[in-house]
């Protein structure tokens, strides 16, 4: 394990209590809603915020452990950080930005500049060495920031919302570049993000943080298959409910009943993929066991598909095509019927 961290930190009135371990070469995405403590977690790993308890070790070296009075400041940790706002030095050229860390490592000027040039080549910025940060596009600046963090050969690379500074148009392309850039780096990688697409594409494993605590850990597939909190449900794009199962029906905490095949007994999570939810203008007389009335609350354009939120018992999101929405004349406030087949309602123990 390259990174082993039991992070207990306090910031203001906020308490963070999270365990995190990352193997070499592995990419772990820390996801969670705003204010969950993602950035604080990253700052403790970087040494920009000291632990109140617990410990952090990188490559077997303890870098922070209040109990044994160990604390290494950021400059003495084998880390590289790509900040949310990138934070390139505005008074230095792209080349000098990348060379900065090498020079701090007492490398000779000429050698540092040569290696920095190689790094810029590697991230595809050949010819832009002498540009200042304000003369670079968002995507180019992002690559300089990555090259700058990787140039000092860290053992742990930390990325804080690495793509949030970019506009949506360039984000997909830069995300691809970033994935390639990360693949070439053998150390441990931690990406903090609130963007599901970013997390799913970049990470091997997800750590979900809510209100300062880890609520779920797993590979992207595991988390997508079995989300264990409302936030994670929304994050992976499914309807998730909590309820009490009795024989094949579940009494939902928020009200309403859903029938599911093999629900078992006791507390369960109920997952319904929006694709499995059907919307009707009139009461349907099909084979679906779950049928209930509701009103259209909102219609969200997701590109190829449309996500229609329907209030009722329970409130649910259905994924439809644009032609279907147009044909039914769905508008907010319209009374509709929702249905879902019992075998498409998935349950697992809470």
């Amino acid at each position: 394990m390259t990174l082993q961290a039991d992070v207990q930190a306090v910031q203001g009135g906020f308490r963070l209590n999270a365990e995190l371990w990352v193997g070499s070469g592995e990419v772990v995405a820390v996801v969670g809603p705003n204010g969950a403590g993602k950035s604080t977690l990253l700052r403790t790993l970087a040494g920009l915020h000291a632990l109140s308890d617990g410990s952090i070790s990188i490559d077997g070296v303890v870098v922070d452990c209040p109990r044994s009075r160990v604390y290494l400041p950021p400059e003495r940790r084998p880390i590289g950080v790509v900040f949310q706002r990138l934070l390139l030095f505005p008074h230095l050229s792209a080349l000098e930005n990348v060379a900065f860390g090498l020079r701090c490592g007492r490398m000779r000027r000429a050698e540092a500049r040569r290696q920095a040039g190689e790094w810029l080549d590697r991230v595809g910025l050949c010819g832009l060495e002498h540009r200042r940060p304000d003369q670079l596009s968002g995507g180019q600046a992002q690559r300089v920031a990555l090259a700058r963090a990787l140039a000092i050969a860290p053992r742990l690379l930390l990325l804080d919302e690495p793509l949030s500074a970019l506009d949506t148009g360039t984000r997909a392309a830069v995300r691809r570049d970033l994935k390639n850039g990360l693949a070439g780096f053998g150390g441990a990688k931690v990406v903090v993000t609130h963007d599901p697409a970013e997390a799913m594409m970049l990470a091997d494993r997800l750590v979900v943080l809510e209100r300062g605590r880890v609520v779920q850990v797993g590979t992207c597939q595991e988390v997508t298959a079995r989300p264990r909190s409302e936030y994670v449900g929304t994050f992976v794009g499914v309807n998730l409910f909590c309820g009490l199962a009795r024989r094949d029906s579940v009494l939902l905490d928020q009200g309403g009943v859903l029938h599911a095949v093999g629900a078992g007994e006791g507390r369960v999570f109920v997952k319904v993929h929006p694709r499995s939810v059907t919307v009707h203008r009139l009461s349907p007389d099909g084979s679906a066991r779950n049928v209930w009335r509701g009103r259209v609350l909102g219609i969200d354009d997701e590109g190829e598909v449309v996500r229609v939120t329907i209030t009722g018992q329970p409130q649910i999101v259905a994924e439809l095509t644009w032609p279907a929405v147009a044909e039914m004349g769905l508008v907010p406030g319209l009374e509709v019927w929702a249905s879902a087949k019992a075998f498409e309602v998935e349950t697992y123990p809470a």
């Binding site: 950021p74 900040f83 030095f89 008074h91």
Partner: protein
Amino acid sequence: MSADVGLAQEPAAALTSRARRRQAKRVSGGLPVVVLVLGALGALLFVLPLVGLVARVPWRSLGEQLFSGPIMTALGLSLVCSGAATVLCLLLGVPLGWVQARTSFPGRGVLRAITTLPVVLPPVVGGVALLLVFGRRGIVGQSLYEYTGVQLPFTTLGTVLAEAFVAMPFLVLTVGGALQSMDQGLEEAARTLSASKWTVFWRVTMPTIRPSLVAGTVLCWARALGEFGATITFAGNFPGRTQTLPLAVYVALETDLDAAITLSLVLLTISVGVLVALRRYWFGGLR
């Protein structure tokens, strides 16, 4: 022919007068006449003395005056003292601004108020205060003289100290403000790139606040150069030792008006130079 010309000119003349009226309206900006008149009077208050001074400059004998012994002595002393005072201010003022901007401790507000005081304090009061502390019978001055033989009042060193006392707040305020408002994330980024605190200071913080540092230094130097009240009170008025340009102007006014005017012109030129050099820093937001 002449009628033609008249006809052709008339619409043009009407147009220009209309345009002129429009232009006048644009200048007045829709302000009441009283405001315009008072504003103009206010501007005259600045313009008239300057014009009056420049008008009385003895241009013919200017070169002769300028390079005469007394003026060159005063100018040289002024440059040396204000330069030394500026170095002293940089050495002590930047760390002071740093401490004020980046640390919090009880009494920080009081400290900030005290270090800002010389900006509004009558300089002569500053001179008296300096004399009480650093004078030969002063709390610090007495032991300083007894143990090292260094005497501050009525010496060139005293001039430097008096100038630094009055000028340093300008540097502290400018640098402190810049340090407080700069993106401290840049310093954190540097530390994650294994830069020591010292390296961060020299290679990230200083370059980032450079415009403010330059402006503060020039402002500080200009204030030191023009210092009068604290200097004459604490350091006296000895030609060649403590008689700086402003003091020389004051003395010359009694005996040699032309010399006073020439000296004033030198100071005015320097002030205008400072203003021009720093116009972007101060008037960047204005056109």
